[in-house]
Amino acid sequence: MLESFSEGLKNAIRKIIGKSSVDEKAVEEFLKELKVIFLQSDVDVELTNKFIETVRKKVLKEKIPEGLTLKEYLIKVVYDELVSILGKEATDIKGKKIMLVGLFGSGKTTTAGKLAYYLKRRGKVALVGLDYHRPAAPEQLKQIAEKINVKFLIGKDTFEVAKESLEKFKDYDYIIYDTAGRDALDEELANELKKLGEIIKPDEVLLVLPADIGKIARKQAEEFNKLVGITGIIITKMDSSAKGGAAIAACSVTGAKVKFIGVGEKIDAFEKYDPKRFVSRMLGLGDLETLLEKAREVVKPEKVEKIVEGEFTLEDFIEQIESIRNMGPLSNIISMIPGLSLPKDLLKQQEEKMKKWKYMMQSMTPEERKNPEIINESRIRRIAKGSGTREEEVRELLDQYFKMKKLMKSMGGIKGLKRGQLEQLMRQFGLRL
């Protein structure tokens, strides 16, 4: 149900994006859809309205820069506006003393570990545990610190530990403070945080917000900002279906920008904020641009030449598959193409299949790879045995290869993969889109 709804939205947007010229009515339609997308992505309503107003003004009332169609301009304005709130680029950590604050369960301690691991490459890092409310919170910090081999300090009293850390880690490049999770409106905890801020005088106060948080984010961000002054935002748990729209509210009310994104439970599942990726994901528009950039990178020009000339060996075929796989798991690639979504099982199957194809290739002679036409039944048997696959699977590979070869010829190579062609390409790999 939810899917069909968001699919509907995607379609509406695609419809407009697909239009060669955008009229006023289409703009209004687009803005209406945009509003729902925003709210569904947990963006605060007041900000949504303000944002829509700004976009409307820019698109309809200002002159479109030369060389741009209204359509291109529309997408550009939305993107630019969003990025001006969230941050145009990843801003680096400034200063030495970094304090992490946030609600309970937002992922502060895990993030403290990830940030320490990230900064370790640059200098001496220390972790300081200031959460003495949640059971075993100091123990958690200690275990993380030991695992990544970083100095740490924990104790019994929040303020004592804070004071001690200043002296103890005086020569360090970075001190990361993990504070207790709290409702910023809870007076007792708010006072504690304020006092901590006065003792530590942090250079950076980073608000840790989970991607799935609802519209409460705005109020909490406001309160935290009043208490300690937020200098940056870290969005955690982006490895889910949540969109992280609350970041917009948090950035707007604090004026701070997104600095990092947590994308998994492992210590290195931590990325610098990337405006393009973040925004396209939030809007559910996919990341076509990145995909195409990647596609351009992985297709080597000389290969294209060869293919245009009709020379397309099994090796090329596998290389093509590999290069697509290099872009990440198939599901990631598919999610980058707007409007495409495939059942998970099918993608997994396909990835399994590609793996097997590689084994089969490795069981072939160089001659067979160059000239697959010579592969007869007895060769198929041998290849299947050698690669631990079944004969019909080898036949399937050959079948796919011949189909692909035909397609390549008809397309005249793969330079500048266009969307339709990419789909065709994927379909050729057995993906029914």
């Binding site: 709210l39 309503v45 910090l141 729209g245």
Partner: protein
């Protein structure tokens, strides 16, 4: 609590009852000054009736009949779908603001149209009627099966409850609260440290257990959680303990391997109750979380952090999707801050405007 959602519901109730008032006033005007109003109405409809009138212009009685017809139509006017739809047009968007998922607000909207369309409502009771209609719709969404935990526990020994959910939803704290609640009711409990992944998760549940004076069964970090829970079950069987409360690592429901691990826990241990713990601060993604975790099979839900939440949308969204009992709600940092979900209280709170 829930002030925001409350405000939104109030706004829509006021809008609809306002419309009804308008209709009432129109009727009143007709009753008081029938001639003027009818004249107005006729003038308003002039283009429409001109054709008809043309034919009857010279026939006074027929014209009178037409007049009668219009008066009757105006007097009969009730709330129609055409009246309601514009009033409710933005309803979905407005409830989105309160973290109510779109399809849920669509359902409420349709319920309201069904309930109010064609109703003749006495003057002065507009608001009452509209609020009742909203209550009926919400009550339908929250019409969830009930679960008598104490009875269930008495019928099966040991009774295994597995808790799972997204990272940071509050599973471990919730387990301590539920265990404390059951222990106070006289049931013997053991906790299983089934989160063997997150740093210090085992120490965390141990500390909780110490505070509520209950035993914990644990293994090392990295151990198979299914095995830890199995051990706890065996321990409970041997010691004749009533309830096993099993913690699991928080997981992203889009991570297939982690979901497989959860499936294995269920396969190996066959829990009597699978409880999904949801952070009530979750926004529109709550419905996704419910959907994905329901692939494992959710028997009951616990909502946490209600003390921070002012919107309450997640409760409506998740209940609408899963139709599973709400076992408890948690609303504070102390072990006692856990209670049964009281639908009437929740509705009264939401609709007390």
């Amino acid at each position: 609590m829930f002030d925001f959602l409350k405000k939104k519901l109030k706004e829509v109730a006021e809008k609809i009852s306002g419309k009804q008032k308008e209709i009432e006033e129109e009727k009143e005007k007709i009753v008081k000054e029938p001639e003027i109003v009818v004249k107005e109405k006729i003038e308003e409809k002039i283009p429409e009736i001109k054709e008809e009138v043309k034919e009857v212009r010279k026939d006074k009685s027929l014209f009178f009949k037409l007049k009668e017809k219009i008066v009757k139509k105006v007097l009969e006017k009730k709330l129609t779908r055409e009246d309601l739809e514009p009033l409710l047009e933005n309803f979905g968007v407005e409830l989105l603001e309160a973290d109510v998922a779109f399809e849920v607000s669509e359902k409420i909207k349709n319920d309201l149209i069904k309930e109010l369309e064609g109703r003749e409502i006495k003057k002065g009771s507009e608001k009452e009627v509209v609020v009742e209609a909203i209550r009926k719709s919400l009550s339908g969404i929250l019409d969830l099966p009930k679960i008598d935990l104490e009875k269930e526990i008495k019928n099966k020994k040991p009774y295994l409850i597995v808790f799972f959910g997204f990272n940071g939803s509050g599973k471990t704290t919730t387990i301590a609260k539920v265990a404390n609640f059951l222990a106070k009711k006289g049931f013997s409990c053991v906790l299983a440290a089934g989160d063997t992944f997150r740093a210090a998760s085992i120490e965390q549940i141990e500390e909780h257990a110490k505070k509520v004076s209950l035993p914990v069964i644990k293994q090392k970090y990295g151990a198979d959680p299914a095995a830890v829970i199995f051990d706890a079950k065996k321990y409970a069987e041997a010691k004749k303990i009533d309830v096993v409360l099993a913690d699991t690592a928080g997981r992203s429901y889009t991570n297939e391997n982690l979901m497989e691990e959860l499936k294995k826990i269920v396969r190996v241990n066959k829990p009597d109750l699978k409880v999904l713990v949801i952070d009530s601060l979750t926004g529109n993604d709550a419905i996704n979380q419910a959907k994905f975790f329901n692939e494992i099979g959710v028997d009951a839900v616990i909502f946490t952090k209600l003390d921070v939440n002012e919107k309450g949308g997640a409760i409506l969204s998740v209940s609408y999707l899963l139709k599973k009992p709400i076992l408890f709600v948690c609303d504070g940092q102390r072990y006692e801050d856990i209670k049964f979900f009281d639908k009437e209280e929740f509705l009264n709170n939401l609709l007390s405007f």
